[in-house]
Symmetry: D2
Subunit: 402 residues, 4 copies
C-alpha cells in the first residue's frame, strides 16, 4: 500500500519557513488524522461511491467549517492556517475538502455575511462543530457559468416566500439541515424580477414541504462525496428565512470567493499526494536494472511536476498574505483557483502515467485525484470562465458572452 510510506510533500522554496509553530502543529494534526482515518479507507469508499459523513464531527475540530470566521464559535484561523487545513483535507480526497467548502466557505459564509443575528447564532456555532450541515444552492441545470440567468423564483406570499425552481450540483443537499437557496424575488421595487439584482438568499430547513433533494449517482469523479439535485416545488418559507443583507448576484459571488480561496489551497494537497506517490514509485520500481528515477525521461517529469507545484504553492502563500492584509481581490483568487487546479490536474495525470500499470488501481491515489480534479476544474468557475475573468481585468472588456 502506497500509504504505508512516509508522506514527503515537496517544499522546494522553503515555504515552511513562513509557518509559525502553531501553523505547523495544526497542519500536522490534520495530516495525522487524514492518514489514520481517511487514507486507509478511501479506495473502498471511492469504489462503492460512499461518503463518510459521520467524520464531519471530527474535521470540525480543525476549523474545517467556517474556520475563516471569527466569533459564533468559529475557529478564527488565519488565512494561511485555513489554507493549510484545506490542503491537508484534499490530500485525502477532494470529496472531503469539498465537504468543508460547501459547509463552511459557502453556507456558513453566506449566513455570516448576509444573515441576521438570529440566523447567525442559530446556525453558525452548530455548523462550526459539524453538528448541523448546510448546503448552498446557486447553480441550476441551465445556468452553470452564467448564474445571473437563474430562473428559480421567490414569490412573496402572505406567510413569507414561495420558492420554485431547480438546483443542480449541490453538495450535501440530501443531508443538509439547512440549505442556502438563491432565488430571484419578484416585485422588488425598481428591480426587474429577471435581473441579477433581484437575487436574494433564503435559508430552507430540512423537511420543509416542497424541498426535494436527490442524490446524483454513477459519477466518475468525486465518487466519495454527496452531490445532489434540489427540486423546489412551491416551497414555502417564513419571512425570517430571507438572508436580510443579501443583495443581488454579488452576494453569492462573494461566497464563491471564499470557496475558491479554499480550492486554490486544497488542490495543493491533491497535487502533493500525487507527486509524492509518483516519486516514491520511481525510486522503488526497477526496470532495465535501474530505478525509474534514474532515467532522464522520468527525471524530466518529476522536475516539471515539482516546479509547477512550487509555483502553485507560491500563489497560495502570497494569496494568504494578501488576505491577511485584507485585500485579496476576486481576480487574484480567480487566477489562483484556475492555475492551481490546472496544475494539480496536470500533476495528477503525469503521476498516473509514471505509476504505469499499477496506476489504474484504486489502492493508489493519483488516478482518484486525477478524476476528482476534473470536477474541481469545472465547479466554482470553469477554467475558461476564470481565463475570461482575468481577461476582463487585464483589458477592461468583458468577453464572457463572446
Amino acid at each position: 500500500m502506497s500509504v504505508a510510506t512516509v508522506f514527503e510533500p515537496p517544499d522546494l522554496f522553503q515555504l515552511d519557513d513562513l509557518l509559525t509553530a502553531e501553523d505547523r502543529a495544526l497542519r500536522q494534526r490534520v495530516r495525522t488524522w487524514v492518514e489514520t482515518n481517511y487514507l486507509p479507507h478511501i479506495a473502498e469508499w471511492n469504489e462503492r461511491a460512499e461518503f463518510p459523513l459521520q467524520l464531519a464531527l471530527q474535521i470540525a475540530q480543525f476549523g474545517a467549517f467556517g474556520g475563516n470566521i471569527t466569533g459564533y464559535g468559529c475557529a478564527g484561523l488565519s488565512p494561511l492556517q485555513y489554507g493549510l487545513v484545506m490542503q491537508e483535507l484534499e490530500r485525502a480526497d477532494t470529496g472531503l475538502r469539498t465537504l468543508a467548502s460547501v459547509q463552511g466557505a459557502l453556507a456558513m459564509n453566506a449566513i455570516h455575511m448576509f444573515g441576521s443575528d438570529d440566523q447567525k447564532e442559530r446556525w453558525l456555532p452548530a455548523m462550526a462543530r459539524g453538528e448541523k450541515l448546510g448546503c448552498f444552492g446557486l447553480t441550476e441545470p441551465d445556468f452553470g457559468s452564467n448564474p445571473a440567468g437563474m430562473t428559480t423564483t421567490a414569490t412573496l406570499t402572505e406567510r413569507g416566500y414561495a420558492l420554485t425552481g431547480r438546483k443542480l450540483w449541490i453538495g450535501l443537499a440530501t443531508h443538509a439541515d439547512v440549505a442556502v437557496i438563491w432565488a430571484k424575488v419578484a416585485g422588488l421595487p425598481g428591480i426587474d424580477s429577471s435581473s441579477p439584482q433581484a437575487i436574494r438568499g433564503f435559508l430552507v430547513e430540512r423537511g420543509t414541504p416542497g424541498f426535494h433533494p436527490t442524490l446524483i449517482e454513477q459519477k466518475l469523479s468525486m465518487r466519495a462525496a454527496l452531490t445532489c439535485r434540489i427540486e423546489l416545488a412551491d416551497c414555502h418559507v417564513p419571512p425570517e428565512a430571507l438572508l436580510p443583507a443579501s443583495k443581488g448576484l454579488k452576494s453569492p459571488l462573494l461566497c464563491l470567493n471564499h470557496a475558491r480561496y479554499g480550492i486554490a489551497w486544497g488542490v495543493l494537497g491533491a497535487a502533493a499526494a500525487c507527486y509524492d506517490e509518483a516519486r516514491q514509485h520511481a525510486l522503488r520500481r526497477i526496470q532495465f536494472g535501474r530505478p525509474l528515477a534514474a532515467f532522464q525521461l522520468v527525471q524530466r517529469k518529476l522536475a516539471l511536476m515539482a516546479t509547477e507545484l512550487t509555483k502553485a504553492q507560491l500563489l497560495a502563500f502570497r494569496l494568504a498574505q494578501l488576505k491577511a492584509h485584507g485585500h485579496a481581490t476576486h481576480v487574484q483568487i480567480s487566477m489562483a483557483k484556475r492555475n492551481n487546479v490546472e496544475t494539480a490536474l496536470e500533476i495528477a495525470r503525469t503521476a498516473r502515467e509514471l505509476l504505469g500499470g499499477i496506476g489504474i488501481l484504486g489502492e493508489h491515489q493519483s488516478f482518484r485525484h486525477m478524476n476528482n480534479l476534473e470536477s474541481v476544474k469545472t465547479y466554482e468557475g470553469t477554467d475558461d470562465m476564470h481565463l475570461l475573468i482575468l481577461g476582463e481585468h487585464l483589458t477592461g472588456i468583458p468577453a464572457f458572452a463572446g
Copy 2:
C-alpha cells in the same frame, strides 16, 4: 441519453472515399451492433465493473478475433477492414476492443505464427468463432517495459515442461480456455537460460494444475474488462504445449505488433465518440444566450480536436496501406500506436472538459473513454517506450536503459 443522437464521426479529409462498399458495410454492421448491444448498457457495466463476456460470440461475426488471419476459419480481412472493426469496437469501450486484441491479435496470432498445424487446427477456428477464449501471458510484475528480463521459467521434465512464475495485467486469463505463456527455457543448447533468446511460448489449458489466474479488482480504468494475474506454480504441460516456431523475445514482440496496429485504429473510435459527444453538447447547451459552440474558446477546442483526430486517422489509413503492401515496420506501428493513443487521450480530456458538470456522469462517454485510455497509454508499450523505439530508429542508438 447522449446515445440517442446520431453519431457523426468526423471525416475532414474524406478518408471515407478510400473505402469500398464492402468496407463501409462491415463498418456499419459493427457500428449498428455497438449502438444496439453495447452503448445502452456500458455505463451500468462500467459502474458495476462487469464485463459482458457472452457477447464475444456476437463480435466474432465481424472478424474481431484473428480477423487479420487467412485460413483456419478466420475472416481474412484486409488491414483496413480489420482496423475499421477495431475502431468501431473501441468506440463502444476500450474493454471490448481489448477483448478482440487479447484473443485475436495476441493469442491467435501467437498460435498462427508459431504453432504447429495441430495447435492451429485445434484452437484457431473455435477462437475465431468466439467459442474458445485465449489469453497472452507475457508481462510480469517486475518486468513491464523490459520483458527481456522475465523470470518465469520452463523446466524440461520427463513429461514435458514445468512452468513457474507470475504474470500480471493478463486480459481474460480467468476465463480463457487456453493461455499463451511466455517463459525462459532452461538448458537450451548454447543459450543462457536468463537470456531473452531462451524465451519460448507454451499453450496452457484451462484447469491445468498449477495454473492460477485471479481477477484484478478496484480498477479505475477499463472497469468493464477482465484484467488478471496468473500464478504459475510448478505447472506441468506436455511437450506438445510448446509453440514450436517460437524463438526468443522477438516472437512475442511480433504479436505485440499485431495488437498495436489494432490499438492505433481502435482509439480512433474512442476519440470520435468523445469528439462527437462534445460537439453535439456544445451545439445544444446554451449559456449567455448562445450555444457553447458559438464561443471562440469552444470553437478553438473543437477545431484542435478535429485536426488532431484527422491526423491520427491519416496515420492509421497509411499504415493500413503499408500493411496491405506487406511492409509496415514495427517502428511505423509503434509511432502510430503512441501518437494515436496520446491524441485520443487529449481529445477525451478536452471533450470531458467541454461537457462541463454533466461530463462527470457515467451516462456520458468521454470520461469513461478518458479513463480507459490511461490503460492504453501504458499497455503494449508505454508512451515513453515508444518514443525511445522511434528514437532508436532515428539515431541508431538504443536509449531504453538510459
Copy 3:
C-alpha cells in the same frame, strides 16, 4: 558548414512510394538547384537583408510560377508536383517560396481565374518564365484578418478607374511589373460601395502615376525577401485594367486558397531542413562522452519532431490527392495551412534548442527558418483565423467577430 552534409529529409511513412519517377526527378532538380544556388549564400543574404531577385528566372524552370495552371505557357504540374516544388523552395528559405506564392499562386492565379483573354495572354506566359513579376495587393494597414473591411476605393472616371488607398505586407511590390490591386468599386448597381460585394481586382502596371510602392525595412523575419507597402494616390487605370470576372471578396479569397495550399507544402521543406540539421548535430556533438543523440531527452525531442512532421506530410499528400480529384475544400486547405505552419514552427524551435550555442549563428538554418515561420503563421490567415474557419465548419456558427 552544415550544408556540406547530405540532406536526409525524413519519410517515416514511406510517402516517397507514392511518387512517380517524374515526381522524384522534378523534386531532385529543385533540391539540387537549392543546394547549389541558394544554401551557400542565404546566411549572407539574410544578414544583409538582401533578396536575389535575379534567381526568379531560374526557379521559373521548375514551374514555380503558376505551375498549377495549364496553358498560357504554364507548367501544368499535378498538385503533388506543385507541392513538392514549394517544399524544396522553402527548404531553402521562406522568402524564396514566398516569391513563388506571390507571383504564381496569387498574382497569376488572379489573372488566370478572373482575367480577360488579353490579360492572360499578355501576362501569364511572361510571368511563368519569370521575366515579368507580379504582386497581389489585398491586405491593408487596418484590415488584416478582416479584408472585407478594406477602404481602398476604385472610382469610375471618364478614362477608367481612379484607385485610392493603402496596401501593406505586399510581397514584391517594389519590383513588380504588374500589381493586382483589390478595391471597392463605388456605384455598382445594387451593391453598397462599402460592402465586400463591391470588391474588384485591377491590374496596375509599374510606373503608373499614383502607384507608390516602398520597401519595408528592419524586419526580423523573412529578411531575404521583398516586403512592401503600396500607396495608391488617385492612381488612374484604364477600363481594361479591371479583372472582368472578379466579383466580390470571394475572388481574392480563391487566390488565397492557392497560396495556402502552397504554404502547407512549403513549410514541410523548412521543417525537414530543421529536423535534419538537428538530428545530424545530435549525432555528431559529443557531451559527457556520448553523442547528444544517445540521451533520452534528445531522443524524445527527435521522436516528437519526426512524428509531427510525418503527420504534416500526410495532410499535404492527402490534400494533393483531393485536389487532383478536384475537390479540396477551402476548409481542408485552411486546416492544413494552420497545422503545418504550427508544426514547422515548433520543429524549428526544437531544432534551434537542440543546436545549443551554435544554433544562434546564421550559418545554421533552424533559427532563420524559425524566424521566417513567424511570418508564415501570420500571413494568409493567422493561426487564430484558421481555427475559427474550421470552427465555423464544425459548428455552422461563424465566430470571427466574437
Copy 4:
C-alpha cells in the same frame, strides 16, 4: 513607436507592496534611464549588430556591476534590489543585462570570491565603476553542458603559467581589460591533471601575448551584444595571475549561481516588455469592429501570459528573500533560471503572435526579446541541464550522462 506609450508592467499579486521606497526609487531610475538611453536606439543597434559599450559607465551607477558585493567600491545592493536592476536592464535588451552579468556576476564575483586582496583592490572598484571591463572564460567549443571535461591547460613554468586552449561564447572578451580564464593545472599534487579538481582560475590581462579574442558575427540572437571566442596559444601569465582561492570546478560553478540568479530576475523584464507591448497593441488594434482585446482567443492569450509571468515573479521574489537570509541553494536558483527563461520565451512568442504583421518589425520589442531569449535558454545551463539538476535533487540520482 511602441516606446512612446507608458510602460505598465503587470503586478497582479501586488509584489510591489514588498518593495521599500528605496527599492522603488532605484527601479525607477534604471527604468527611466532605459527608456531615455536604450529603447530609442535598440532597434537600430540590433539591426546593425552594434553594442553601445560606452554605456557601461552609465549603468555602473545603478550597481549593475557586482552590485551584490559589499565593499571594494561595490554597491552592496540587497538581493531584491540587484534583481530589480537586472529586470529593468533586460527589459531594454538581453545584451545589456548580459553585460552586467558577465562583468559583475561572473568576472567580479570570481575575483571577489577567489582573488587575493591585491587582485580585489586592483580590479573590483574600477570594474564596479565600469571603467574596466572583465570577461569570464569557462565554456569551450567541445564542452558546453559538461565543463568538467575542459581541455584548456595551465602549465607551470619558471615565470608562472602557460595557458593553452580555446574558449567559446565568451561575452565581452574582445573589449575586456581582464579575462578570468579557467584551466586545468598540470602537476598539482594528488590531482589528476584531467580531473575537474585540477581547474583553477587565472586573470589574463588585455594584450597579454598569446591571448587572442575574436568577435562572433552573423548572430540571430543578442545581436546587440559582444559574443566572442578566445584562443589561448601558449599564453604566459605571472604567478600572481592565479586566483588563489579557486579550487576545482565548483569555483566557476559558484559564479554561475550569481549569474543565474540575475537571469531569473532579468528575464522578468523582457517578459514584461513583451506582455505590455502585446496588451497595448490588443487594446488599440481594431478588427471586425472591435479591439483585439475584446476577443476570447486574445483574452485567453493575455490571461495565460499574465498568469505565467506572475508565477515567475513570485519565484524571483522568494529567491531574493531566501538569498537575503543567506540560504538560496543552487537547486533553487537553477529551478528559477530554467522556469523563468522558459516562461519569458513563451510570453515573447505569444506576444509576437499577438502583434500580427507588425510583430516582425524591429521597431517593436517582442520579436527581438524572443530571439534573445533563445540564447538565454541555452547559456548558463541549458533547459535540459537544469531539469536534470532538479531531477538529481529530487531523486538523489545524477542522470546527466544518461
